[in-house]
Amino acid sequence: MTAAEIRDAILDILHDIAPDEDLSNLKDEVPFREQLELDSMDFLDIVMELRKRYRIQIPEEEYTELSSMSSTVRYLEPRMKGI
């Protein structure tokens, strides 16, 4: 998947786990938590959905890589290259 496709995939997941949020103005460099109402259970949802949809395994010590859209895409790009 390209970086743009990964971003769309993350947006799809966010739409599902934060259905009340307006994601149209999401700022990629700003941490999710500073612009969305997300807690630790929501971040676990992101991890779980990546596992379910793309079979991506993210070790617990690397969860911090998912703090913003840009860091998430950067982290996932090499891991989702062949998808």
Partner: protein, 416 residues
Amino acid sequence: MTADRPDHQRIVITGVGLTAPNGNSLSEFRQALLAGRSGVTAYETRYFGPTLAGVCHFDELRYQKRKEVRRGTRAGSIGIYCAREAVADSGIDWGNVDRSKVGIYIGVTEHGNVETENEIFLLKGYDYDTQFWSHHHNPRTVANNPAGEVSLNLRITGPHYTLGAACAAGNAGIIQGAQMLRLGDCDLALCGGVSESIHTFGIFASFHSQGALAKHEDPTKASRPFDLDRNGIVVAEGGCIFTLERLTDAQARGAKIYGEVAGYAMNSDATDFVLPDPTRQAECMRLALDRAGMQPEQIGIVSTHATGTSSGDTQECEALRAVWGSNDGQPTLFNNTKSFIGHAMGAAGALELAGNLPSFDDCVCHPTINLDRLDPQCELPGLVVNQPREGVQVDAILNNSFGMLGINSAVIVRKM
């Protein structure tokens, strides 16, 4: 006895919030009961296929965000809707209520089966690899979940828990609320019962295997307690939560008072997993009457528990005749609300009591419907059949709720 209690130990109902298959407020519910309108419809559930059920249609998003609905449980949503409606109906100045003195006591028949069945169904798609099991499973299935979601939604910091009491749970919630108010554990009790059981296939399959699941070509006629052609239970979802307060607190704020929780009792058959024992049921009703300082003939309406099973209905009628006698001249009326909505399980006791409360003011006793051929073993003098009985003076209601493992309950509410 209640008559001897000082006013600060007398407990009154000041608000009602409910969702039933035929109404999402007490007024809608009451109108449906007086109009003979059933809430039972065709229904289909995973694995089990087409069946019948009482299905609620309240607006989950009235009091919850979509994310909260997604994260929580159906039982939690039912509890939140009913609790919010009850608080609004009570007229209490919620913004100035000390939330640490509010208690939440919600009866449930069971909880967690819906979420467990859903997770296992999803896990099948991953060849039962448990790394795909949801981290939401535990907070959704802990037994206090329905009460806990109410606590979170209303920011209530007093005690919250559920009471597992099979189909006596609605009454058990009310009794717990009254007791905690008397103990001073809370100043306002949100109590009653909820049920989301129609979202499990297990309850339908189990009743079916037991030969106790109702079927009828017309869904609205499937729930037919006391009728010779009854063939089992219609499972329903629903919820009903009351606000209870001490009489002195309710009077001090000029609250509308629906009635006083004048007496109650719970006991156990200690005889069988599923078959009821009319001797203990009668003892339970007598104990509630004794605690209320009342005689059977002072009860205007008995809200019967009967679910439409062959043995359960006759056993309850035997217990009722043991307490009220078989004399045609006795003044008490008997009705049945499950004939309209099916069996709302943990919510049944609270919903059925709520449906009868307006009789104090409108002087009408709603009937038991779908009673075309009365089972001679279910004959009760005063049974209100198919049409409402108007112009009746109702000063007290006795509400029966019984459940599996031989759990019995009776709550008496007296007109103020």
